[in-house]
Symmetry: C2
Subunit: 216 residues, 2 copies
């Protein structure tokens, strides 16, 4: 059965693949599962029909037969559990890969989103210029720790897993900030993720949506 | 095999059960799995021996034979996968429960931690008084959506799951803020979680640590 995900019709990132549908698309491409996409406008995301599917009025959602899921992390894990390619078979390695999924979303992403919120919602505030360096120091602290753990390895724990997929996706949100450039091994790690054929297919698919909807 | 978790010897919450070892303790109590606790000082958390176990120098970690895990969400999921009591058996209900785990940690917790960081690290800044209401509005927006979804139900999706465990734990961080009091059903939901015998055992265990270590 072909699953259906939701995505934003005109993503504010202008097709740079920074919206969270990218995570679901990339995971589906890694495991070779075709999928349908239902596009939503920002106003449709806040309407009761979508709220019934996603209580927080966001994207992506994932529908497959009787199952309706929200939260990109849960969607990636669901895909990874049902198809080979995103989680190791050995139980301890599998648990560690899921650990990196949570690390990406619960340890690395919050300060990075905090910076996005500051730039998006507080850049007109009198404190913005003074506060931004504090926020960036919190991100650097995490990048420093992640960089130390990764070292010269290609991926966080042996082969590429769903943990790398989410970590690369989260780090990509820093591309405009320049912060990632301070850590050569993390920059190379993100580039390695972006070079995967499945990433490229997912990226091209979301870019095609942006190009098509912005021509209307 | 009895697993070993790590916790802070003298938690800055003074035994109110707001540190993240509480999640692991509660999950272990729900499934009836005994466990050992290794206590760490703040300086020990930053040392190489602990960094090898937890690259971000935090607690809890979870060790069981050859397996070493970090990230409280991953630890709770690992416990839930290996014991009955925290995830439904029916596959779609199981996937939705895991969805609520990610919702707790990736949608609800970030603005709540943002408020904690503001109070802890920015209360001496000239902008603190003006900025705090903005942060609290972001939390209210999420609480409003969660409250609408919960309605008059006891738990987020039928029976109590690991999703409720993490959601209650995350909402408890708001106890000092007064924000939760604005949502009667969410306050009752948290109280329902705190009334569970497994919660009480976990709470008492972490409080006992604080009392013992603060008497030295």
């Amino acid at each position: 059965m072909t699953p259906t995900i939701t995505a934003i019709a005109q993503s504010p990132d202008r097709g740079r693949g920074l919206a969270r549908d990218m995570r679901a698309r990339w995971a589906l491409e890694e495991v070779g599962q075709s999928y349908d996409v239902r596009l939503l406008s920002f106003s449709e995301m806040k309407e009761p029909a979508h709220r019934a599917l996603h209580p927080f009025g966001q994207i992506p959602t994932y529908e497959e037969g009787e199952l309706a899921l929200f939260e990109s992390g849960a969607i990636v894990l669901h895909i990874a559990e049902r198809h080979a390619g995103l989680l190791p078979a050995e139980p301890n390695a599998r648990a560690r890969a899921i650990g990196w999924m949570f690390a990406a979303l619960n340890t690395m992403e919050p300060p990075i989103v905090d910076r996005q919120m500051a730039v998006l919602l507080e850049s007109d505030k009198p404190w913005h210029e003074q506060r931004l360096p504090l926020v960036e120091e919190r991100i650097r602290a995490r990048l420093h720790q992640l960089s130390a753990r990764l070292g010269d390895d290609d991926w966080l724990d042996d082969d590429f897993t769903a943990g790398d997929l989410l970590m690369v996706d989260v780090l990509r949100k820093l591309s405009a900030s320049g912060l990632l450039n301070e850590y050569a091994n993390l920059s190379a790690y993100v580039a390695r993720g972006e070079a995967r054929p499945a990433f490229k297919r997912a990226f091209d698919a979301q870019l095609a949506v942006f190009i098509a909807t912005s021509q209307n």
